[in-house]
């Protein structure tokens, strides 16, 4: 039951691609040196051979590294744009969203630059919806202030699943996903396990200190709707 509702919550981002148009999503990684946000974003790309436009500013590249083709694979060719200023990153992303041939436009912005305000995110979101290209804004060391992003995620790494053959080694990666604001579905928290061999994402409701059904129960849904 819980898994089914979560999949409905994530609809339109790969599980049922036709349900909702592609749009702007903002991701806040928990730490700069944490590639879980990149991995989650890559797992949600459409399964085509279209290229990705990847725009980075200088600090993001220095602190979090550059996307490595050996790790990402050759399915999507990458057009890499290395820039120094956040305003240039936003310009390049907006220009890229004029091109429908792309699988996604990914921008990495460090901190809270003044250029990245509500207007800028709104422009990006409207461009992305007009071109039907998904746009991901990865913001490191940033505060989640006012933004027009349709989905806003907080993503952190969790200790990975057990390795099937080696108890000492890390297995399939696990991430803590927190969709803390969404315009088109219900916010929620999940623990995702990414099965690399099958390229499949398994979601389970976040358990922890809270009860599983506290934010996920059917009673609340009835009350709301």
């Amino acid at each position: 039951m819980g898994v089914l509702r979560m999949q409905q919550g994530l609809a339109g981002q790969g599980i049922r691609p036709a349900a909702m148009p592609h749009t702007l999503a903002e991701v806040f990684p928990a730490a700069p040196a944490d590639a879980s946000a990149t991995a989650f974003m890559l797992s949600r790309l459409p399964k085509t051979n279209a290229p990705i436009l990847w725009v980075q500013d200088r600090l993001s590249r220095k602190e979090a590294g550059y996307p490595s083709l050996a790790g990402i694979g050759l399915q999507h060719p990458i057009i890499m744009v290395d820039l120094s200023r956040a305003s240039d990153v936003l310009w390049a992303m907006e220009d890229g969203l004029r091109c429908r041939a792309l699988a996604a436009v990914v921008g990495e912005v460090w901190g809270d630059p003044p250029a990245l305000d509500f207007t800028a995110t709104k422009r990006l979101a409207m461009r992305a919806e007009a071109a039907d290209v998904s746009c991901w804004l990865i913001r490191r060391a940033a505060s989640p202030d006012l933004s027009a992003a349709r989905d806003r995620w907080r993503i952190a790494s969790l200790p990975s699943a057990t390795h099937p053959h080696d108890a000492q080694a890390p297995g399939d990666p696990r991430w803590a996903l927190d969709l803390f604001r969404s315009r088109r579905s219900k916010p929620g928290q999940w623990v995702a396990t990414y099965e690399r061999a099958a390229d499949r994402l398994h979601l389970a409701a976040a358990t922890g200190d809270r009860a599983v059904d506290k934010g996920d129960g059917a009673a609340r849904q009835r009350a709301a709707g």
Partner: protein, 488 residues
């Protein structure tokens, strides 16, 4: 000495000096100095003795050459093939261009007028060969014009120095009693051949004579090949901003390209300034194109870099990297052409941020992680032979691996605790090692091997950690540990 404004009066002898073997020597002299008996090549102290009121300035041969190189480009307004000739001349291949200026005599007057407006005096001549033009411009009458079959008669009375020979050979010919080119012509070919059989071109009067008379080929090799397709805007008044004329030029150029069935990969916008300077802006495209709107958009923000000086009165837009392009039919279902849009996007980004910041990563065949990946310019074509890496590799790599401080080393495997970016990481699980040996055919001797570990700390962060070298491999001290990348 500055070219404009404070030119010395004509009645003062002025010379330019350069350093010689025994003190400064005369490089060039003005008319008054030459009339006073100062001749170039002599020592300045000797000439001071002859002419006590001599004013001496130091010459700037490198600056003169640079100015002459710019003037070579400036002279392209008269004909397409121009080249610098030595340190003091320009050769223009005006074949087929003179009628545009109303004949050769009118063209010479026009060139001299334009040069005079720049504050330069010039001696001009038109001749069928390079050598004849050289001799007539320096030793012939003012603005002399030599027809196809007149070279023999016109060159005859000129001194032998007009044969472009070095000073020793000129002296030798003078000692032999051959003072004019005509006298050299009268000497039987056989005797001249025998006397100068081993001499090079600079010291061989016979070969120089053949060049001047057109018996020996001497083509004008222009500085750069002329772009075959270009659009020109001649303006009545000098302007400072070329942008109002650019759409029209782009359309004109694309029309020419379309007629020829071609597309261009580069556009050179050249403005000819009224002060004789030339400024150029170049944009490049990733695929050959002839779409005027797209080409025009590439010049956005680029035109501000042109320094207009006192304005410019001639704008040319030339197509470079011309390739054949077949006419493409747009798809019937109304969908857009993906490849076209992608190449245009790359063009726009490269034009705005420079081609170096827009790259296309490709895989190379190497086990060393930083060599396994290279960046091509996105404008270039990607190689087809890329093989996917089968080992698990991190999603993100650092440009420069960052060293960690080991707190708690373990004999086998990665350190149990280490400090990286001022934070203590406690290793919970790890996989590895994967040993990557240095490439001896590329690396310097003494490069150490690397043992890579995939390490997961208590919070779940997965790092790619490596140890550089092994203890006791004889290549340095204690092995050091580095963070190289991050797994998803």
């Amino acid at each position: 000495m500055e070219r404009q404004g404070n030119a010395p009066p004509d009645d003062i002898p002025v010379v330019l000096a350069r350093e010689g073997h025994h003190g400064p020597v005369i490089h060039a002299a003005n008319r008054k100095a030459r009339m006073d008996g100062v001749n170039p090549g002599a020592r300045v102290v000797d000439m001071r003795a002859i002419c006590p009121e001599l004013q001496v300035e130091y010459a700037d041969p490198a600056g003169d050459r640079a100015v002459l190189d710019r003037l070579v480009l400036w002279a392209r307004r008269f004909c397409p093939w121009t080249v610098r000739d030595g340190d003091d001349g320009i050769i223009l291949d005006t074949t087929g261009s003179d009628h545009l200026w109303g004949g050769e005599a009118a063209m010479l007057v026009e060139i001299e007028t334009q040069l005079a407006l720049l504050g330069l005096s010039a001696r001009l001549a038109v001749a069928p060969t390079w050598g004849a033009a050289w001799a007539l411009a320096r030793f012939g009458p003012v603005r002399s014009i030599c027809k196809e079959d007149e070279a023999f008669f016109k060159l005859g009375p000129l001194p032998v120095a007009g044969l472009r020979l070095n000073a020793d050979t000129v002296l030798l010919l003078r000692r032999l009693g051959l003072k004019t080119i005509g006298a050299v012509m009268d000497v039987p070919r056989l005797s001249l051949t025998r006397r100068f059989v081993k001499a090079g071109l600079e010291a061989n009067p016979l070969m120089r004579l053949d060049q001047a008379l057109g018996k020996l080929a001497e083509p004008v090799a222009s500085v750069e090949a002329r772009p075959p397709i270009r659009a020109t805007a001649r303006l009545a008044e000098p302007i400072f901003d070329p942008s109002p004329h650019l759409p029209e030029l782009c359309e004109d150029l694309c029309e020419q390209l379309k007629v020829a069935g071609l597309g261009c990969r580069a556009l050179h916008l050249v403005v000819y300034r009224t002060d004789g300077d030339v400024a150029e802006v170049t944009v490049r495209t990733s695929a050959p194109t002839r779409d005027p709107a797209h080409l025009h958009s590439l010049f956005r923000d680029k035109l501000e870099r042109i320094n207009p000086g006192f304005g410019f009165d001639l704008i040319t837009l030339a197509a470079g990297g011309v390739e054949e392009v077949e006419e493409r039919q747009t798809r019937l279902d109304g969908d857009s052409d993906d490849d076209l849009h992608l190449s245009r996007l790359i063009d726009r980004l490269s034009a705005k941020f420079g081609p170096r910041s827009v790259t296309h990563p490709v895989l190379h065949q190497s086990h060393v992680p930083e060599r396994a990946e290279g960046a091509l310019a996105a404008l270039a074509k990607a190689p087809a032979d890329q093989t996917e890496v089968t080992k698990e590799r991190p999603l993100r790599l650092l440009d420069h691996p960052e060293e960690v401080r080991v707190l708690y080393a373990v004999p086998e495997g990665p350190p149990a605790q280490f400090i990286w970016r001022r934070q203590t990481c406690r290793v919970a699980r790890y996989a590895g090692p994967e040993r990557i040996a240095p490439e001896w055919w590329k690396d310097r001797p003494g490069t150490r091997l690397r043992d890579y570990f995939k390490v997961e700390d208590a919070s779940g962060r997965r790092l790619w950690l490596y140890r550089e070298g092994v203890l006791g491999d004889g290549r340095g001290a204690e092995p050091r540990w580095f963070v190289h990348g991050f797994f998803g």
